[in-house]
C-alpha cells in the first residue's frame, strides 16, 4: 500500500465515523403534544415513567424497543445519558412495587411510528427520521 491508499483508507474511515454520528437516534412525539424542544432531564423523566402528563394534560405514553435492541441501547446512552440496565432497574422497581408503570414495547420501527402516531401524548424514538403526518421530531437540549 502506498501513501495514496493510506490517505484514501483514512478518509473513508473518517467518513464512516462521521456518518455514524449523523444517524443519531431521534426522539419522536405525537403531534398533539406541546411544540417546544425538551430538556434532557425531561426526556429522562418521560422514559423513566415519572413525568405522567404533558403541559396540555395529555397523559404521557411511552413506547420503547426491547432492552437488547441496538436502537434502544444507542438512544438510552446518547440521548438520555443512561445505561439500558438502569432504565430496566427503574421500570422493574416501579412495576413490581405498584408505584409506577412499564413502557409499551414495540418490535419494529414501523410499529413504533404507527403507535406513536395513533396515540395522543405518545413518545418514542427512531433510528433516524420519521415521515408521518401525525409525528413530530422533538429536539432534546
Amino acid at each position: 500500500m502506498n501513501r495514496r491508499h493510506w490517505t484514501l483508507l483514512f478518509a473513508s474511515l473518517a467518513l464512516m465515523f462521521w456518518s455514524l454520528t449523523l444517524t443519531a437516534q431521534e426522539l419522536i412525539v405525537n403531534r398533539a403534544t406541546p411544540h417546544q424542544p425538551i430538556s434532557r432531564n425531561s426526556a429522562r423523566l418521560c422514559f423513566t415513567m415519572r413525568l405522567l402528563s404533558w403541559e396540555n394534560r395529555l397523559p404521557v405514553k411511552v413506547f420503547v424497543f426491547p432492552d437488547n435492541h441496538p436502537t434502544h441501547r444507542q438512544f438510552t446512552k446518547s440521548v438520555l445519558g443512561l445505561f439500558p440496565y438502569q432504565l430496566r432497574q427503574v421500570w422493574d422497581r416501579q412495576i413490581f412495587s405498584g408505584t409506577g408503570r412499564a413502557p409499551v414495547i414495540v418490535a419494529t420501527e414501523q410499529e413504533m411510528i404507527e403507535q406513536v402516531a395513533a396515540t395522543p401524548g405518545g413518545i418514542g424514538y427512531v433510528e433516524s427520521g420519521a415521515n408521518h403526518p401525525q409525528i413530530r421530531i422533538l429536539e432534546v437540549r
Binding site: I38, S39, S53, R73, L82, F83, S97, G98
Partner: protein
C-alpha cells in the same frame, strides 16, 4: 387536606379527556416465577438444605390500572415457599391507590394508600422479585429472610415528593405510617421461640426514606428507616408476660453504577428494646444490632453478570464475638449464633427477556442469619458452613 380539596375536582375533570380510549386498554399485567435448588454443608437454610432443598419458590402476579394520569391502582399477589418459614400460601403483597397531586419536569408529589411495600434500603420494595435482586439471596445481614415480614410492608398511608434539578440531580422524600404486617417468624426471631403466644403490632409504625440521585443516575445516596413497636399476647401456658419489643431499623445506602460495573454498599443499625416479659428467657434489655455489606457486580456482557459480596452482621454491636450473650444462656446458645460473616460469589445469565438463570456460592462464618424456626436446637448449628444454590426465573 385543603390541597386535596382543590386537586380532587381537577382529577375528576381529567377523567373525561382520558376516556376516549377504553378504560381497560391501560391495564398492565406482569408476573414472575422462580425455583431454586439449595445445598448447604451444614445447618438448615430454606428447608432441608444439608440434603439438598427445593423449598424456595416464588410466584407473583400483579396488575396496574390508571384511572387517569393522576390515579394509579395496583396490586400484587405473592405465593412464596421458603423452607419452614413460609409455606407458599398466596398473600396480598401490595394493594394500593397512588394519587399524584403534581407532576411536572420540576417536581412530583402525591400519596399512596393501602398495603404499601416499605421502601427500605435499595432492595426492600421488590425483595421477592428475583430479577431485581443482585443474587439468589439478598444480603441476609440487612434483608433478613428469617424476619422479612416485619420490614416488608405497611397497611397505611405514604406521602412522597420528588424534586428534579437539571444539573444537580433528584431529591426524594417518602414519609408514612401504618400497621406493619407481622407473622409468627417475628416471634421466633425476636424471642427465640413462639412461647405459646403471639407478637402483634402495637400502635402505628413510622417509615421514612430520603434519597439523592445524580442527573444520570450514576450515584445514589440514601437513608431510610422504620420505627416499629410490638406487644406480646401470652397464651394460657405462656412462660412470658405481656411484654413489648420496640425497634428502630435504619439503613444508609450507597450505589454507583458505571456501564460495566455497579458498586453497592449499605450499613444498617437496629436498636432493639425488650420490656416487661418478666421471664429469665427474655429479661429487660437494650441491644443494638449492626450490619453492613460491600457488593460489586461486573457485566461481562449485557446478559452476563458476575457478583462478589462481603457482609457482616452482629446481633449486638457491643458483643461482636457473642461471648456475653452465650454466657447469659449458660452456654446453651453458642457465641457464633450472634454474628454472621459471609462471602458470596455468583454468576447470572439473562437468557432473553423472559428467562434468567444464576448460580451462587456462599462461605459462612457464624449462624446469626439462620432462622431459629428452621434450626430450633441451638446446640446443633455448625459455625463454619458453605452454601451452593442455583435458580431459574421466568418473567412476563
Amino acid at each position: 387536606m385543603h390541597r386535596l380539596a382543590i386537586t380532587l375536582p381537577l382529577i375528576l375533570c381529567s377523567l373525561n379527556a382520558y376516556s376516549e380510549e377504553s378504560f381497560w386498554d391501560n391495564l398492565q399485567v406482569h408476573g414472575f416465577a422462580s425455583q431454586a435448588v439449595i445445598k448447604t454443608s451444614d445447618n438448615r437454610f430454606f428447608g432441608d438444605s444439608p440434603d439438598t432443598s427445593f423449598d424456595f419458590t416464588e410466584i407473583g402476579i400483579n396488575a396496574s390500572l390508571p384511572v387517569n394520569p393522576q390515579i394509579l391502582l395496583a396490586g400484587q399477589l405473592l405465593a412464596r415457599r421458603a423452607g419452614d418459614m413460609y409455606d407458599g400460601t398466596p398473600t396480598l403483597d401490595y394493594g394500593l391507590a397512588d394519587m399524584t397531586f403534581a407532576s411536572s419536569a420540576e417536581q412530583r408529589w402525591g400519596v399512596r394508600l393501602g398495603r404499601i411495600k416499605n421502601s427500605l434500603g435499595i432492595y426492600n420494595e421488590t425483595r421477592d422479585v428475583p430479577f431485581t435482586r443482585p443474587g439468589i439471596f439478598l444480603p441476609q445481614v440487612i434483608y433478613y429472610d428469617k424476619v422479612r415480614n416485619l420490614m416488608l410492608s405497611t397497611d397505611g398511608l405514604m406521602f412522597y415528593g420528588e424534586s428534579y434539578h437539571d444539573d444537580r440531580g433528584t431529591l426524594s422524600l417518602t414519609l408514612g405510617g401504618g400497621q406493619s404486617v407481622i407473622d409468627d417468624n417475628v416471634a421466633w426471631a425476636f424471642l427465640g421461640n413462639d412461647f405459646g403466644g403471639e407478637l402483634e403490632p402495637d400502635g402505628v409504625a413510622g417509615l421514612f426514606r430520603f434519597w439523592y440521585t445524580t442527573p444520570e443516575e450514576r450515584l445514589q445516596l440514601g437513608v431510610s428507616g422504620a420505627l416499629v413497636s410490638m406487644q406480646f399476647e401470652p397464651g394460657q401456658y405462656s412462660p412470658l408476660s405481656a411484654g413489648t419489643t420496640d425497634l428502630f431499623f435504619w439503613i444508609v445506602s450507597f450505589q454507583y453504577g458505571a456501564e460495566d460495573w455497579t458498586l453497592t454498599a449499605e450499613y444498617a443499625g437496629e436498636p432493639i428494646k425488650w420490656r416487661d416479659y418478666q421471664s429469665p428467657f427474655s429479661p429487660d434489655r437494650d441491644v443494638t444490632a449492626e450490619s453492613y455489606y460491600l457488593q460489586g457486580a461486573y457485566r461481562l456482557r449485557p446478559d452476563l453478570q458476575l457478583l462478589l459480596r462481603y457482609e457482616e452482621g452482629y446481633a449486638d454491636r457491643n458483643d461482636r464475638d457473642g461471648v456475653q450473650s452465650s454466657a447469659m444462656t449458660g452456654g446453651a446458645i453458642p457465641p457464633f449464633n450472634s454474628f454472621s460473616k459471609i462471602w458470596t460469589a455468583g454468576l447470572r445469565w439473562d437468557i432473553d427477556q423472559h428467562w434468567m438463570v444464576r448460580a451462587e456460592y456462599q462461605r459462612h462464618q457464624g449462624t446469626f442469619i439462620l432462622s431459629s424456626k428452621e434450626n430450633p436446637d441451638p446446640g446443633q448449628p455448625q459455625a463454619d458452613w458453605n452454601l451452593w444454590a442455583v435458580q431459574a426465573v421466568f418473567r412476563f
